[in-house]
């Protein structure tokens, strides 16, 4: 979890007594995210009293599939419950908390649907299962085979990526095929990376811009699964092959596999985001991230939008937020030129 400088006893006092309701809500949220239910219970208002306004708190549930492929599995840890001692279960719980906190803090979004949806993750799915996915209702994580992949609950950006598929489903609902599918994938990588960057307190120039760093087992020749900064360079290994992502439109891959190459061509919009974020500077979630977030959730994006359409929409959002002649809008427009999506 992120380090909170304010100690819990002070947070409790703020949560109870502060004059500013927003400050009280924020303290409650921090307590809910960082400590166990003991604190939450002490703070709990009488049953009849309504929750303080604006106090968005996560509602997490971790289930254990017991190495079967059935969902959701048995409940392992509900919101506010103490740590279980199972690393995958507790890691999944903490990373859901960090992801919730990111969306709440950066964009004022209350969970996946913006209305406090319960966040459900199933861990220990399948036998040595090398994957994580979003099934339309929840997140699912395999333990990895231990030879090529480690536990998929490990890296924070994997949880951020999967949960963001949920955010996309509840907003622009981009078709998971072809260019709109690659954009769907890219948005999950973008916010997955931003969640990690906020957690680590990094600026755009400090971030590694890698996706799935820590997921490859020792001995595999690679640093991660994808690089937003340099698509195509994340791994090159006898067992895995070489990272197939193109860095710009000249390398766009046409294929019927993988729903039309959604995990391959996402490298192009990924790098566009990286270019915009680095050109703008500072914390990437604040400006470049806001432009992408408002484009995704603004309600005017077609579900079958292509790269050109999405690029134009981000320039429009940047113009609305920062002005047509602003450095931010110029950075966004230049980023799409940099990957050959626009001239």
């Amino acid at each position: 979890m992120r380090c909170h400088i304010v100690p819990p006893h002070m947070l409790e006092r703020i949560a109870r007594n502060a004059d500013d309701p927003a400050l009280r809500a924020r303290a409650r949220r921090t307590l809910a995210l960082t400590s166990a239910h003991a604190t939450e219970r002490r703070l709990a208002a009488p049953a009849a009293a309504p929750a303080p306004s604006g106090a968005a708190v996560p509602n997490r549930m971790i289930a254990d599939a017991g190495h079967k492929e059935r969902l959701p599995g048995t409940t392992a840890r509900a919101e506010g419950a103490a740590a279980t001692g199972d690393t995958s279960c507790d890691q999944a719980y903490d990373w859901l908390g960090a992801t919730f906190e990111f969306y709440e803090t950066a964009y004022g979004r209350n969970s996946i649907d913006g209305a406090g949806l319960k966040m459900i993750s199933t861990v220990h799915y399948g036998e040595r299962y090398d994957n994580a996915f979003w099934n339309g209702e929840q997140m699912v994580y395999g333990d990895g085979d231990g030879t090529i992949f480690t536990d998929f609950t490990g890296p924070l950006d994997v949880t951020g990526h999967e949960l963001t598929h949920g955010v996309t489903q509840y907003t622009a609902n981009l078709d998971y095929s072809g260019q709109s599918g690659a954009l769907n994938e890219s948005l999950s990588d973008v916010f997955g990376s931003l969640i990690k960057q906020m957690h680590l307190g990094q600026t755009a120039d400090q971030a590694d811009w890698l996706i799935g760093q820590g997921l490859l087992a020792p001995g595999v020749n690679g640093v991660a699964l994808r690089s937003m900064k340099e698509p195509g360079t994340a791994y090159d290994d006898p067992q895995l092959g070489k990272d197939p992502q193109p860095a710009d439109m000249s390398g766009y891959v046409r294929t019927y596999e993988d729903n039309g190459g959604v995990h391959i061509n996402s490298g192009i919009p990924n790098r566009a985001f990286y270019l915009a974020a680095v050109a703008i500077g500072g914390h990437a979630w604040e400006k470049a991230g806001r432009v992408w977030y408002e484009t995704l959730t603004g309600g005017s994006l077609a579900s079958a939008v292509d790269f050109v359409g999405f690029a134009a929409a981000t320039v429009q959002t940047a113009t609305r937020l920062y002005g047509a002649d602003s450095a931010e809008t110029t950075a966004v427009a230049d980023a799409w030129k940099g990957v050959g999506v626009s001239q």
């Binding site: 090398d130 994957n131 994580a132 996915f133 979003w134 099934n135 339309g136 992949f149 998929f152 994997v158 990526h161 999967e162 598929h165 078709d175 998971y176 095929s177 599918g181 769907n184 994938e185 999950s188 799935g212 997921l215 699964l225 994808r226 895995l240 092959g241 197939p244 019927y256 596999e257 993988d258 729903n259 959604v262 995990h263 391959i264």
Partner: protein, 84 residues
């Protein structure tokens, strides 16, 4: 009969390909006899699930991980077990 299976997608997006011939593989021959490619539902568009492209002597189908069960599931895992 020549059977080819390609797995694509997944969070990692790493492709796996396997190929086997039922003429020299009695287990595969039995599985092919129990599989009906015509009855496979279209793959759902589920983010990061594995997608399987199956080719049995030129007859092709695409199956999503969630729909993969019964003898087709056995066949896919058998052939991918031969993946290089």
């Amino acid at each position: 009969m020549k059977v080819t299976v390609v797995r694509s997608g997944g969070f990692a997006g790493i492709r796996r390909r396997g190929e086997a011939d039922s003429a020299s593989d009695p287990m595969l021959a039995r599985l092919v006899g129990r599989v009906d490619l015509g009855s496979v539902p279209p793959p759902g568009r589920i983010p990061d699930q594995f997608v399987y492209d199956i080719d049995i002597d030129g007859r092709r189908t695409t199956v999503g991980e969630a729909q993969l069960n019964g003898p087709l599931r056995e066949l896919v895992h058998h052939v991918l077990g031969h993946a290089e």
